[in-house]
Subunit: 349 residues, 2 copies
């Protein structure tokens, strides 16, 4: 895991301690919250215009992505809903081969949220924005009555500039391609479970929420078209992403259980709860499907990055079981890993 | 009011009647809902790739905007939360002088929402998407537990192509400029109030939710730089938007109460509830600040459009009361219309 991004900015002296419905009215209190808080914190040439939207110039290919975040609890070991909402959408853009540039921030706040908690979340967002030169250029704040939301839900949408060298496309995947993951699996999901009400257990785990897209984009810089497909396996875990890939091809994906990188703590927790780690959510992780010719070199490249110390080769694309994901167990048996049929843990992100 | 857009598409035979937490798991049920429902309904070259984001080419200026919609009730006379969430973001883009092109759709669904209601909402979104050639290109679906949301919240973010002739900027507003509105004020707000639990009253009112941006963009086509500023006065109403404008200038905005276009039904309802219509939310309406030279012609142009039959000149930019909005009453008195200090009605959009 890379080092955590930390940013703090003195909270303005608001003359209110909690968010009320009037902060969502569009009137004076909305303006106070925005002018004294959000706009001053995120100040940039686009946002400062305070129009209904941001206007920018571009020539070339852009990527556009959206994600809503409803994680519970909103603060957890290793991060909070603010970190998730930036990292998540920025990672999605990078998975399209794009450098994230602009973010929109849509807040749905439950009446009663403390302004201090809101500020902490906004600070996290600002920290990531600064660290990776991604600007929050437009936004929206709504407030719902107590009991009609859950503290805060955040939507981020993002625009990124697609790298010229990027040639990402599921249709480019061929038999023989290799599957790499950028680090340990199941860390985020098991962290959230460890602090979820009614399920708490003691662990040293911290969420892997981070912007990992920069590393994915460096892979593209170095290996161009040999990086055929990228995806971050969040909700539903590794197995779901691999199923989405296999389901769209006439090929199969075969992975080896023994090769899956996983922290000891996550593995123990999965065993304790009877969960299969390949279905557990990740946040700061990506899966890459790459040409066999460069797979060794690509893996070495990843492992040099402190964010990807756990990176590993986990399997290959084959033609043996079309449209299926097959897991080879440590003792040699094979099983089909289908889509997660039900719900493992709601509101993991 | 223009005619309502109506679109219907047979609902697929889902093997579930209500949305459950598992539909937000990222697993099999999420995929069923998306593959059989959302993806087939909105099918287009961008969405069909089903990647983490949509990739498109552009050369020129783009506008980017976001809005979350939490309106209650989700179905109301004249529309539903789906109409609002398309029209609202598309209008925001048009207010930047941009033709809306791409929309992202983020759904936060409360467990227990009926699939039939969800489908109706999606049909409305699709209808508007088709009518104005705006594509839903990326999306996200989350489900929260019963009592942690309220049926459905929708975030739409949008990208539009800025018109070459557009020269919208608050700094371009000068003394003597004229203020036009595109139609009757307070219609949406009074409609929602008439069906809000605990507040119901009988009225023939229907929400004015509509994409009005096309008309705003035609103004730009016809009058170019003489259209100096555009804004849709949604939450907080006309007075809030005018205050936002005046607050950023060393000028004042003076409007005349007698000139404000308002339906008889809205006026009566406002009197009944003791509300000032200039603070009541609108949806399919815009305010334009225009050069005095073309204001008459611009108004005539608007009035030719059936969506803008109620269009009117309502006041001017003056230097008399810097940073203030002043309302001249029918009997000649003047009062300052400041920002709405509290909350008129939560969750109006």
């Amino acid at each position: 895991m890379g080092k955590k991004i930390s940013f703090s900015c003195p909270m303005p002296e608001f003359d209110f301690d909690t968010i009320t419905l009037a902060h969502g009215s569009g009137g004076l209190l909305t303006n106070k919250l925005l002018d004294q808080g959000v706009f001053s914190l995120f100040s940039n040439e686009y946002l400062d215009r305070q129009h209904d939207g941001a206007v920018f110039y571009n020539e070339g290919k852009l990527a556009f992505s959206t994600d809503s975040f409803v994680v519970s609890p909103i603060f957890f070991p290793g991060g909070n809903i603010g970190d998730l909402s930036m990292n998540g959408t920025m990672n999605d853009l990078a998975m399209c081969g794009a450098v994230p540039k602009f973010i929109s921030l849509g807040l749905i706040i439950e009446e009663g949220l403390s302004v201090r908690e809101l500020w902490k979340i906004l600070e996290s967002i600002k920290g990531i924005s600064d660290a990776f030169d991604v600007q929050v250029v437009t936004g929206d704040t709504k407030v719902v009555e107590r009991g009609k939301g859950d503290k805060i839900f955040i939507n981020t949408s993002g625009i990124g500039v697609v790298k010229k060298q990027a040639n990402i496309g599921i249709e480019r995947i061929k038999e023989g391609d290799r599957i790499l993951v950028s680090g340990n699996i199941a860390t985020h999901g098991m962290t959230i479970m460890s602090v979820r009400k009614g399920l708490e257990f003691q662990t040293a785990l911290e969420s892997d929420t981070q912007y990992i897209g920069d590393t994915a984009l460096e892979l593209i810089d170095n290996f161009g078209s040999d990086i055929k497909f990228l995806r971050d396996p969040t909700r539903g875990g590794l197995a779901t992403v691999l199923n989405e890939i296999a389901g769209k091809l006439e090929l199969s994906i075969e992975i080896e259980e023994a090769l899956l990188p996983i922290l000891h703590e996550s593995k123990s927790a999965c065993e304790l709860l009877g969960l299969d780690p390949i279905y557990v959510a990740n946040e700061g992780l990506f899966v890459a499907v790459v040409s066999p010719e460069i797979s060794g070199e690509a893996l070495d490249f990843l492992k040099q990055n402190e964010k990807c110390e756990g990176a590993a080769f986990i399997g290959s694309v084959t033609s043996a079981y079309p449209k299926k994901v097959v897991v080879k167990s440590a003792i040699g048996g094979r099983r089909i890993a289908s889509m997660l049929p039900g719900e493992q843990l709601p509101r993991i992100c």
